[in-house]
Symmetry: none
Amino acid sequence: MQQLQAEIIGVGTELLLGQIANTNAQWISEALANQGISVYHHQVVGDNHDRIYRSFELAKSRSDIVLVTGGLGPTDDDLTREVLSDFTKRALYQDKSALAQLEAFFKRRNRTMSENNRKQANVIEDATMIPNDAGTAPGMIVIDDDTTFVIMPGVPTEMKKMMNDAVLPYLKETFQLQDVIVSKMVRFIGIGESQLEMEVKDLIEQQSNPTIAPLASDGEVALRITARAETTKEANRLIEASEATLLARVGQYAYGFNSESIADVVVKQLANKGLTLAAAESLTGGRFSDAIVSVPGASRVFKGSIVSYSNEAKMKLLGVSEVTLQSFGAVSKETVIEMAKQAKDKLNTDVAVSFTGVAGPEPLEGHEAGTVFLCLYHDEEHYRAEKFSFVNHRELTRTRAVKKALEWLYYYLQSNHG
Amino acid sequence: MQQLQAEIIGVGTELLLGQIANTNAQWISEALANQGISVYHHQVVGDNHDRIYRSFELAKSRSDIVLVTGGLGPTDDDLTREVLSDFTKRALYQDKSALAQLEAFFKRRNRTMSENNRKQANVIEDATMIPNDAGTAPGMIVIDDDTTFVIMPGVPTEMKKMMNDAVLPYLKETFQLQDVIVSKMVRFIGIGESQLEMEVKDLIEQQSNPTIAPLASDGEVALRITARAETTKEANRLIEASEATLLARVGQYAYGFNSESIADVVVKQLANKGLTLAAAESLTGGRFSDAIVSVPGASRVFKGSIVSYSNEAKMKLLGVSEVTLQSFGAVSKETVIEMAKQAKDKLNTDVAVSFTGVAGPEPLEGHEAGTVFLCLYHDEEHYRAEKFSFVNHRELTRTRAVKKALEWLYYYLQSNHG
């Protein structure tokens, strides 16, 4: 069977001005690779009729599937529909049903629909429409001789939903995709990237199918196992064998797979054990709570938290004693322990975490930016409190403190204390 | 003077597999834009001789300057030098001086140089060599008829250093670049993208220097004014004139410039007016507090918040009455008003915002996912509470609720009530 060749075109002058990176191309490339569709080219063109037209011409000359993002908005710079209509020599007309959906979208949000939004209901003759539940512009699939064009919005969340809900299933069915490429990510926490890589270096170097690739992100690291086979079942079997070898070496640090976040796993384990969680946040300012609440089903385990950003709030809301604050300061082990204890008591939960420190850039109470005290509290006999020195970078320090707390919770729940 | 057209080619199969995003193209695009060089195309090709060759062919046919990143490594997949040699029909030979520099690089780092590294000292006849102080592969500038090819490593830090230290100065001098391009972004909130564009449509269409481009992001919209002139001073003067015209039309929605976020502006205005803020968050789960705390200096205005995720927390921590919760539900106007009032009283601030709703995906109390009640509260006579229907998307709904609260706060502070 001839190998399917795909191409991705990003439309938008903001891409050529360097204002944003073409992350859509990356995401789509990976999604197609997982379907066994090879991407051979990316193009980026600006909001210019002639150049978009030529990009379609070039793509058609060499690719079976062309995915286009951008240029579906309501403004005069948005030309993708018009150019595709010209290029494929098919009429562009205003579709009643698409217009009705667009009007309903605005009505539901109590927003006024502008005159120029109407062009987003323009549809190409014989196109397959792809609904956009997360935005205004529907996508379209247009078959032009031997090339399939798919046009989608440039907004990443809208494009991804459209790809996952409609485009990928369409491609899979239409092209009866045979070879599959399957990837599985194994996620680790509590071990550094270089140490992990050293533990499995020989496995990474030896393997050709599956391949193993390390990926690092903030405060955690993953290994991506990628296998290619004729069936998903066979690919998964290859992956399982590889995964078993990896876990035999470094499994004690593995917490989850694929897109499971450490927060997902922590919430799930709290739920499994029937435990509840509260928090008291100072420098993290709600970011830890946000991470927990982002997990669907968090309400089973998370009762709430107190963002005691000021000392006044620490005393009045949390009940941290003035004596503690005066004797040791807000940024201290004593204070962070009291914060956690109070949060646990006030919210009546099984465990609580607390954060206090110096986000920066200014130092505070003699502590430099990046200093964080963290506490995980169960009861008077079972708690953990430590000081960390993160970086002089407000954002990174706050994020790393949150990640560290999730790491502590994870290992706490793994042990018998949970 | 004829407008210089540049093109950027990213070489690397990992880009086509979606393993990394083409951030090099973004960075280079912005760097060139600042020099007054217009980028009209991006291409990405894999590690394949034929396709790289054709990408050079295409680029030469339409661009004056072609910048290529990637494919300069020591492996067999690294083909850029070889292909450029073939394409420009110039010999590739091993340069003694380049080899000596390479050997010195490895020696300095106590690393062994592999046999395959030697090809990184291969040089194209008549090329201008660009030293790479941050890595192994030198770059090259090759002039082929009317097109200037610049080949550089794909490693971002190495490429950027090479661009800043050698390539940009070379381009500036060679092409006697006179012009500078300066951009300024004007940021708006409280008006939709299509409506804003309609208000300034004629200005967008008329203007050629500066140009005005609309950019939308979640819950807000911006206009980017880009001017080209011989000096930065002159460019800024053009921008100011254009900005004045825009603000005369839609200035009432403008809140900031360039990278100022709405949270930055809200915190600054609260500080200017000597006002303090608290919050009570349910579905937003700390995300609003996080947005405020992310602004340096937030401690001047933000005392803290209560993330009352459970009804128990709403009653015990916030003091929302059980009667209200039983009569109207947690997701109601009555409850959100009481939450804000209680947060304001307990934290003793001038204003408070509160959020309650249904993040989803499940409906709650008969309200569908995306339903949010928001309240901005000053006192019994001065408060605002409304219901919104956002989208059935947990993340987006929570983010939009936060953005809407910031919008309300902004306009509240703009009026005399602040």
